[in-house]
Each structure stands twice: as C-alpha cells, then as structure tokens.
C-alpha cells in the first residue's frame, strides 16, 4: 500500500537497516571500481559524438584536404615538378596530413569539452568516479581516433591518386599518434580556460592555422630567402610537418628527430597541465 501523501513517516528500523545494507553494498562497489569501464564508456561516448556529426568531423576535413591536394598538387605540381628530389605531390601529402591532424585533434577535444561546459552537461562527468587521468584518456583517445582516421583516409586517397608516401611507416604512425595526442591535450586545456566561443576559436584561427601554413605545408623552407628561413625555424610546427614528411617520403628540411622531440615535449607539457587543471578543478569545479 502506498503511504499517504499528507504525512512523512520517519525512517523506520526496517528502512534504516535496508539503507545500511545498501550503503555497505555501494561501498563494496566503490572499492572494486577502478574506473576503467567508465573511461571506456566516456571514450565510446566521445567517439559516438563525432560520428553523429561525421559529415562535419570526418567527411568535411577529408574533402577540404583533398581539394588542397588537387588544386595545389596538380596545378603547382605540374610547374614545380620536383622539390627536394621528390614529386611535389609526394611532398605535399605529409603537410596536408599534419594540417588535418592538428585541426581535428584540437577541435574534437576542445569543442566537445567546451560545449559540455556551456550546456552544463560536464556535470555528468564531474560527478563520476573517473580520475583526471581517466577523463583525459577518454577525451584524448576519441580525438586521436578522429584525427588519425581522417589522416589515414587522406593518406589512402592520396596514394590511390598516385602519391608515393610510405618511406618509414612505423615512424609515420608514431608521429601521427604523438601529434594527435599533443593537440588533443592542448584542446582540453583551451576548453577549460575558454569562456566564450570567440575565445575557443581564437587559437585555431590566429595561431594554429597560420603557423601550420607558414610551417612548410606547401613549400620547402630552402625556397625562402635566408631571413625568412631563419624566421621559419622558430616555428615549432615546421619541425612537426618535416618530421611527418621524413616518415612518409624520407625527405626533410630539418632533422626529424627535433620534430619528434618537440612533439614529445608538447605531449608531456600539455598532458601535465591538463592533468593539473582537472586535478585542481580549475574553472570546472569552482
């Protein structure tokens, strides 16, 4: 029988006993749960999120990159023919892939986290037992999947179109992964600090895109006057593009190991900072 609506009955002995049993059972569960199943669930949720907007998250970047490839590769390629001893098309593919990796990894983690923050849905994650590391792993994991999948599609299509870019596959894959991880972490940091859509768009538009374009996606810095060569060497993304180019074609303007070092540093620094932000609850738990 339902209790009458008018009165509240105090917790009876029976209710109290069943509550104590429930708390004991919940404690057991809490002691057993290491959070990895939850991390996987958040990762899957993040993958599903970008798959729901696959037109925007996968198809659009692939198409845009292929348009660059066709326009620059075929129009400029016929004039330039060879650059650094390899066909211009081969030279171009790694640069376009890096552009795509950076954008997709950064946009995925930053937008997903930022929108969850704006719409309040981030609370759903913050009240879970997931640790800062586990939350980072889930967000970064999904961003890496998005960036690497689009990267691989571009790589495949470019190869089908005649680009020969498989010099050091292992080096290439490691480089792709590190790039995606580094920029996904960077995206998390930017999402945590950002308070408006303008702020979150600031970095990709005014920092990442120009640095990538000026980092030798379309040209070798040896083609630049000495002054601009020197300026270009201060651009960290130059080393990343050239590192990937080394992995894919065996050719590089600068040592690929510097690129690998910069990426490793990016992963470590951004990883530590993102962890620190989530651990202290900055802007999320205050």
């Amino acid at each position: 029988m339902k209790p009458p609506l008018e009165t509240a009955s105090p917790a009876s002995e029976q209710t109290s006993a069943s509550a104590r049993r429930k708390i004991a059972a919940a404690r057991e569960k809490a002691l057993q749960n290491q959070g990895w199943q939850g991390t996987y669930a958040l990762f899957i949720r993040e993958v599903k999120r970008f798959m729901k907007i696959a037109g925007q998250s996968i198809v659009s970047p692939v198409l845009t990159t292929l348009l660059y490839f066709v326009v620059f590769g075929f129009s400029l390629g016929s004039r330039l023919q060879e650059i650094e001893g390899i066909p211009y098309i081969d030279f171009l593919v790694p640069g376009l892939m890096m552009l795509n990796l950076i954008n997709n990894a950064f946009l995925n983690s930053s937008f997903s986290l930022f929108i969850a923050k704006i719409h309040g849905a981030i609370v759903d994650v913050l009240v879970t037992p997931l640790t800062p590391l586990q939350i980072i792993m889930a967000y970064v994991g999904a961003s890496v999947v998005r960036a690497v999948v689009t990267g691989l599609i571009i790589w495949l299509v470019a190869s089908l179109m005649g680009a020969g870019t498989v010099a050091y596959p292992l080096f290439t894959i490691v480089f792709m992964l590190l790039t995606a991880i580094g920029f996904a972490l960077f995206g998390i940091i930017v999402a945590i600090y950002s308070e408006t859509f303008d702020q979150i768009n600031l970095l990709p538009s005014f920092f990442l895109m120009p640095l990538t374009f000026l980092g030798g996606v379309f040209y070798s810095i040896s083609m630049l006057p000495p002054f601009w060569q020197a300026v270009s060497l201060a651009n960290p993304i130059l080393y990343m593009i050239n590192g990937l180019r080394y992995g894919m074609t065996g050719v590089s303007d600068v040592s690929p190991w510097i690129g690998l070092g910069i990426l490793t540093a990016l992963v470590l620094l951004c990883g530590l900072h993102a962890w620190h932000l989530l651990h202290t609850g900055k802007k999320l738990r205050e």
């Binding site: 919940a26 809490a30 729901k52 037992p129």
Partner: protein, 325 residues
C-alpha cells in the same frame, strides 16, 4: 525444501552516518557562501534542506558531490573523504543538479545509458529504459535531449543520477518546473526510493515538499545552518495555532482582564484572534470557552488555522535576519 534465507553478517551493514559534514566553510571571493556547517545524515532518512535563493544549499551539495574542489572543513560519504577518496565517495553518491542541463548530441536513452557506463555498468541500456519508464519518459527514448520540455529534462536528470543505484541521493530542487501531477508522482517515487534503502537529501523552495516528504529538516540562511530538527518536532516546537472566534456582540470590557493570560487581538467587528502554541491548545482552549460561557458571550463561528512549515520557516528567517543585521 523451503528456501533458505541467509541472514546478513554484521559486515554487510554499514554503521554510522552516511554523510558527515564538519566545519564546512566556503567563500567565493569576499562572499562567505557557507559558514562552519556541521551536519550528519543517517541511513534511510529523507532530509530536506530549506533556504531562500543564495542561502548556500546548492553550494553545500556541490561541495559534497565533487563540484566544488576548494572548501574548508571535512566531508565524508559512507566513510570516504570526498576529496582524498573522491572516486569512492562519488560511486556512493547520486546528484540531480538544480540547473537543467542537456547533451544536444545524443538521444535521451543514450545519455542515461552513458551515465551508467561512466559508473562502470557494462550493459546499461535495459536499466536506462526501465528508469525512463518509471519516470514517465516512455516513448521519449529516441528524442534528442535538447527537445525535451523542462519537466522532462528534470526527470531525465533523475534517471541519470539513479543509473548507478546510489546509496545517497541529492535532489537539488527536484520539482522545479514540474507540473503538479508529475510532482505528486515524483514525491511518491522519492518515498519508493527511500523504501528501497536510498538515503535522500533534497533542497526545495516548496515548503510543502519538505513538510510532506522529510523526516528531518535543516534550515539554512546566509550560509549558516540555523537548525536541524525532526519535522514533527519542528512543527510542535515552532508551530502556532490561531483560533478565530466570531461573537454575537462585542466582548464585555471587564472580560479583558480575564483574557490577559491569552495572546489575542481584535480582528474585524466582533472577531477575535487567539494564538496558541501547537501543543498547548488542548488544555487552554476549553478553559477559554468556559470563561466566555461564564460571561454569557455567545459564539457564532469558530475558525482554526494551524501554522504550516512555511510560516515557521519565515518566522525563523526573519528572526535570524534581525539578529545578524
């Protein structure tokens, strides 16, 4: 052969309060949102935290549930410190936040299932469907969360909070924006949850909600927990009864002296309000009638009004505001 029943061993029962808050203080810049709050919640009770907007109810819940990382004092849930052993404490706690939120990328069922997944459930869909059905959200599984009405979003948030079967559930203004019929249904559901062993802490603006649901009530004002009382004790201690008498003619002047022992005042023509404490009417009211009878006053109408929690609450806040200002 009869089914054997295994009696729970002592280790299967948790001993002590499910929530302990000690010396909790929280400031936002110069604003002291919580000031040295101490509170214990016993297993199986429904506790209502009452306070006006900005009193500190939500901040307190946020400190407990991990949405506020920085505060002074100690909070433990089922023996787990909410900062040092946060993952364990959060496995035990469920929160339905006050602010409506939605995840525009997903359908309702997906968001509820995901929430179970974050807490470690491997096959959460079936449970998510059952909870949505219980919360009258059947047929809305495929709707995008963005398109749900405010009341539906609220119920969806309740479903999400219950996916991991929390032993301690926080409902921050659970019936805000929910229509009357569904509100009654939710209240019934809260009792059902308590019946299943869930301890419930709710905050509310609707004093009626606290009056009908809560075993104990805490009143918070300007970040201070003014009092914590059993609901019925609170009503007895602070409740008032007003008896209005209408008489055929004005009360005789010389009767006023006799009535000095009562707290009373004149209302409209031939109308008199007598005030009693809730628990003192029994012996004193018949004496009043007897007295009036002796003086030949003929009573034409009697009306009684019991003060409700709302009145008690207002009175307490008023006296607190007067004291602090």
């Amino acid at each position: 052969m009869p089914n054997s029943v295994v009696a729970p061993t002592p280790t299967e029962n948790f001993v002590g309060p499910v929530l302990t808050v000690q010396g909790l203080s929280k400031t936002y810049g110069k604003l002291q949102a919580l000031h040295n709050v101490n509170l214990e919640i016993e297993p199986g009770e429904i506790f209502a935290l009452l306070g006006v907007n900005g009193a500190g109810k939500t901040t307190m819940i946020e400190c407990i549930c991990g949405l506020q990382a920085h505060f002074e004092g100690q909070i433990s849930v089922a023996g787990f410190d909410v900062r040092k052993e946060y993952a364990r404490a959060r496995q035990i706690t469920g929160l339905v936040p006050q602010e409506l939120n939605f995840d525009g990328f997903f359908r309702s069922l997906e968001t509820v299932s995901s929430q179970g997944g974050y807490f470690g459930l491997r096959q959460p869909d079936q449970k998510a469907r059952a909870l949505m059905k219980r919360l009258s959200l059947e047929g809305k599984e495929k709707d995008n969360t963005r398109n749900l009405s405010g009341g539906m979003k609220r119920r969806l948030m309740i479903a999400k909070a219950l996916m991991h079967d929390p032993a301690l559930l926080f409902l921050d203004e659970p019936t805000a924006g929910v229509d009357v019929e569904l509100r009654d249904d939710l209240w019934e559901y809260v009792r059902e949850l308590r019946g299943n062993g869930t301890t419930i802490v709710l905050t509310t603006h609707y004093l009626e909600e606290a009056e009908k649901l809560a075993d104990r009530i805490g009143i918070i004002n300007r970040g201070r927990l003014l009092l914590v009382e059993r609901r019925d004790h609170l009503m007895d201690k602070f409740g008032r009864k007003r008896v209005t008498l209408r008489t055929a003619q004005p009360l005789p002047k010389h009767l006023s002296r006799e009535l000095r022992i009562y707290q009373w005042e004149e209302g409209q023509e031939n109308e008199y309000h007598f005030h009693f404490r809730r628990d003192e009417t029994e012996p004193t009211l018949p004496r009043l009638f007897e007295l009036l009878g002796q003086y030949g006053v003929s009573i034409t109408d009697v009306e009684t009004r019991q003060s409700r929690l709302e009145d008690i609450f207002r009175e307490l806040l008023q006296s607190d505001d007067e004291t602090t200002s």
